[in-house]
């Protein structure tokens, strides 16, 4: 079992190293894809193992429970969508070696983050994602991408540094309790007598720090810039999973803090962050001018919803949050892939310059519309269920007022997104004929959006995995 | 379907078919005399009818079946109203309530037929008449319903014969303020519905002021005859209704030759009185501008509504 835990990490590292040193076109082309596939495969395998009742571990640092397995699967699935959809057109020059290396490392770092049992390692992995993606954001070497990269690195690493301060204080608390450790399982199951007032500071700082990476307002500012400047697949990866991985970190910290302090503190922080994120996203989407920035703000929206779900707590809400993570990851990565193709084909992502895509470029507009429908939480896509579940659970657990506010903001967001999407996709075909899209390019999108449409209904192992993953956290409460 | 009701219905229809031309003739005659003219005599409308029936109906270009079906519908609906309204007697069919709403909607069926006839030829005047006619009809309906509703409250039923019978039993309720208010309202409504002064001038020949006349401009021969007869029947039936509400006495509550005879005579009397009163009133009235008519109707509606609310206060007091 332990081997299985190491597989994704080793494969990613190996691929990255090979790509970096050999730099053969094949490697540059496929390393990211292979890495993602491996992560997905091992995620599935680990989920199976966990459902079979075993808890694979490797050393004292890596430990796989249902939550980790699920998150690894998400990383893999979204990674697969992004990398596969991001493959350059056959014949076009492959990505350069650096790009592929960094993408592979990025995937590895995220896998490490979700596999780590030690919060310190988790933190290192999250910080490593910043490092891996810094040059990816700046990959285009334009003025704007440089600016985006700078903002991303500074804001990101400062935020994460705050998280590290939080972890340090947490460690100090354990030291004071006589059992110095940062192992999550020990922290949650070890019955340590942690000092509440210190844990309060520690938890608040840790959440604040990881919230930066998760793109929760008011620490979200790096997000639109980075997402709009990074190459489309990278934007997809960042918005699809990076944010969720950071959110996963928050969940873990919350699970440590809540049993000691009660749900009050975290709830307050997360509700505030969630509603603020929704507000910011709503306000800035109304008059948004750029497609990719619009998608970025919608990511902030969904992170806000996740924060609310975490604040609510309870099996239903947490399971919904996890399903939401998966759904949002798939939808958002597909949308970013599409936006990349639109950019390639139209030469712009300015909403005002994109007209009548549905008649001109159906191969792009149809997946765009479908993905947007999924993102807006329309059935049959799984986000519908997760959003309904979040609201219902919110009322059941006494956060009704927050839900009411959130729903109002969601309506504004819906109006804004629908308005922009309509102006992009609908309307007459202005002259400017579409060149036929090479076949097979829509395969990843079809796969992602198709599975998005069914995972809401599956009676298979997914519900079990979700409820077990939720139980990992809720049980820890 | 009991036979007594059938007999009564037949009597009412026949009587009204005979009476209504005479009633119109009477009203014209009264008017003429009061205006110092000799007048054409009470029988003139009947003669007109005979003449029209004998004449060949013309069909204007581009008209449709409506031109020939509409008049029949109108006259049929008016006749049906004559069946439903308690004029001679108050015996009703078990399954078809001589219900206020049924009565009104049958009436409106005729109204619609007339309006469509007006539109069919596509002449400007026809359209104008039809539009004004429908506007007024639309505004009259609330008054009619609410006023009869007011009258229905004391007896707790919307059946007209029940109402009339109730007033027969309690004569005091006739002069009750409530019922007076309601009756005034109803009367105004009837005037508007049947196109009398001051809402419409039945004897005008200036197209721009026409409402009813404008709609029948394109009809001729028997079509015109049916239209005229139909609208006369309405007038008669509605006046008769007002009459039986205002003075229920003499109305037959059983079907014996004698009671029927009394009922008919009473009806004639009521119609004569009301008709001449109406005609006399028209002499002293000028036609309202069309856009002042809504004020009149609004006024009558308010009366009816007051009647309703007042009657509840009375009931509760």
């Amino acid at each position: 079992m332990g081997v299985l835990v190491l597989v994704p990490l080793t494969v990613c590292l190996a691929l990255a190293a090979l790509t970096a040193f050999l730099r053969t076109p094949a490697l540059c082309r496929f390393s990211g894809l292979v890495a993602a596939a491996t992560v997905l495969a091992s995620g599935v395998a680990l989920s199976a193992a966990v459902l079979a009742g075993s808890i694979p571990t490797a050393g004292s640092l890596l430990r796989v429970d249902a939550l980790s397995a699920f998150m690894l699967g998400v990383v893999g699935a979204v990674g697969l969508t992004a990398t596969w959809g991001g493959l350059p057109v056959a014949g076009a020059p492959a990505h350069d070696w650096m790009y592929s290396t960094l993408v592979t490392l990025f995937l590895g770092a995220m896998s490490l983050a979700v596999l780590a049992d030690n919060l310190g390692v988790l933190w290192i992995a999250v910080e490593a994602t910043t490092i891996a993606t810094a040059f990816l954001v700046g990959h285009n070497r334009t003025r704007r991408s440089l600016e985006a990269a700078w903002k991303y690195v500074v804001l990101g690493s400062v935020g994460v540094a705050i998280a590290f301060l939080g972890l340090v204080l947490l460690y100090a608390a354990t030291v004071a309790a006589g059992r110095p450790t940062l192992s999550w399982i020990a922290l949650t199951q070890g019955h340590l007598a942690l000092d509440p007032s210190l844990l309060k500071v520690a938890g608040a700082l840790a959440v604040l720090g990881f919230a930066t990476k998760a793109g929760l307002a008011p620490m979200h500012s790096w997000l639109p810039d980075a997402h709009s400047q990074a190459p489309a697949p990278v934007s997809g990866l960042m918005s699809g999973v990076l944010l969720s991985v950071a959110f996963y970190a928050i969940l873990r910290v919350q699970a440590v803090v809540d049993p000691v302090l009660g749900a009050g503190l975290m709830r307050g922080l997360l509700v505030a962050a969630g509603l603020l994120s929704l507000t910011v996203a709503a306000a800035l989407i109304i008059r948004q001018r750029d497609l990719k920035r619009m998608l970025a703000y919608s990511s902030i929206e969904h992170m806000g919803l996740l924060a609310l779900a975490a604040a609510i707590g309870g099996t239903l809400a947490i399971a919904a949050a996890l399903l939401h993570v998966l759904g949002h990851g798939l939808a958002k990565s597909s949308l970013f892939v599409v936006s990349g193709r639109i950019l390639a084909a139209e030469g712009t992502t300015q909403i005002a310059d994109l007209r009548g895509l549905l008649t001109r470029r159906p191969v792009m507009a149809v997946p765009y519309l479908v993905g947007m429908a999924a993102l807006l939480g329309l059935p049959p896509f799984s986000l519908f269920f997760s959003e309904v579940a979040i609201v219902v659970a919110g009322f059941q657990r006494g956060l009704g007022w927050a839900m009411a506010v959130a729903v109002g903001l969601v309506l504004v967001l819906f109006a804004g997104l629908a308005r922009h999407s309509a102006s992009i996709a609908l309307g007459p075909a202005s002259p400017g004929l579409a060149e036929p899209d090479p076949p097979g390019r829509s395969a990843p999108l079809v796969l992602a959006l198709g599975s998005l449409a069914v995972i809401g209904f599956t009676a298979g192992p997914l519900p079990l995995l979700l409820s077990q993953a939720a139980a990992v956290l809720v049980g820890a409460r | 379907m009991n036979t007594r009701a059938l007999v009564l219905a037949a009597v009412q229809v026949i009587v009204m078919a005979v009476l209504s031309p005479l009633l119109v003739g009477l009203m014209r005659q009264v008017r003429a005399r009061m205006e110092g003219r000799a007048g054409a005599g009470v029988l003139q409308p009947a003669r007109d009818l005979r003449k029209l029936f004998a004449k060949e109906p013309l069909r204007a270009e581009g008209t449709s079946w409506v031109m020939s079906v509409g008049p029949v519908v109108l006259v049929a609906s008016s006749a049906l109203v004559c069946v439903l309204v308690p004029l001679v007697g108050t015996i009703t069919f078990p399954l078809v309530p001589d219900d206020l709403f049924v009565m009104v909607s049958v009436l409106l069926l005729g109204t619609v037929a007339l309006a469509l006839v007006g539109l069919d030829a596509g002449s400007a005047f026809g359209g104008m008449g039809s539009s004004r006619h429908m506007t007024i009809a639309a505004l009259v309906e609330p008054t009619v319903l609410v006023s009869v509703y007011a009258l229905s409250i004391p007896v707790g039923s919307s059946s007209l014969s029940a109402i009339v019978h109730g007033r027969l039993v309690h004569p005091s309720s006739v002069v009750a303020p409530v019922s007076l208010l309601a009756l005034v309202a109803l009367f105004v409504a009837v005037v508007a519905e049947t196109g009398r002064m001051p809402v419409d001038n039945p004897s005008t020949h200036l197209e721009l002021t026409m409402i009813h006349e404008a709609m029948v401009l394109e009809s001729s021969g028997r079509d015109l005859a049916w239209l005229e007869l139909g609208s006369w029947l309405r007038l008669g039936a509605l006046l008769g209704l007002v009459g039986s509400l205002l003075a229920p006495w003499g109305i037959a509550s059983s079907v014996t030759p004698l009671s029927l005879l009394i009922g008919v005579l009473a009806l004639v009397a009521k119609l004569v009185v009301l008709g001449s009163a109406l005609a006399a009133g028209e002499v002293f009235l000028a036609k309202l501008r069309l856009f002042r008519v809504p004020e009149l109707l609004a006024g009558s509606f308010v009366l009816a509504f007051l009647a309703v609310t007042a009657s509840y206060l009375v009931v509760q007091a």
């Binding site: 390692v121 003025r143 340090v168 608390a173 004071a176 110095p180 | -």
Partner: protein
Amino acid sequence: MSANLFDQLIGLSAGVLLLTSVLLVWKRSLVAAARLLAAQGVALASLVAVIGVFDHDRQLVAVAGLVLVLKGLVLPWVLDRSRIRTGAVREETPLMNTTAALLALSLLTMLAYLVSQPLRVLAPGPTTAAVPVGISLVLYGFLLLTTRRHAISQLVGFLLLDNGIAAVAFLTSGGVPFVVELGASLDVLLVVLILRVLTSRMTVKFGGADLDDLTDLRD
């Protein structure tokens, strides 16, 4: 080593940390900034060493060496190199003038004391008594980041912040587990290197490292 001496040494190095960081906020010269950071690194290393020696913790002494190399030498050197590349000598016009900044420092220091209250009641002792210093370093660093226009001064701010966290770590618990410590320092190093690369690219593209030029991306 006697507890008394230990107290004094801890106090001394903490004082140096605080002093250097106040100077960092005070002086706008970027040349000086590098030196001050180096001094601060040394102070931090000595702090770690002292704790290590007092606790007879070899590993911690080794860490002290690491800290000395990294924070005392490498990072300041990298910083200075990139400053030279940008050719900047001093932070011309910070968003917040020095007086205001210094006043803000005092407030932040009070906040730091407030925050570290629980620690000091939890485990009273010379090290925990010095924790507020670490936290104020963090806050100062953040202040620098928010108020300085030049890329290099932001780098300075980031390093200051990082030193603060390290200080807190060592003061509270003799450092986080070694692996974590290693990874953390590595991350910091990499971040700084990345920022350096970006700075040099900026100087190529913008002909300067003034962050006010970075306002193309906006809504």
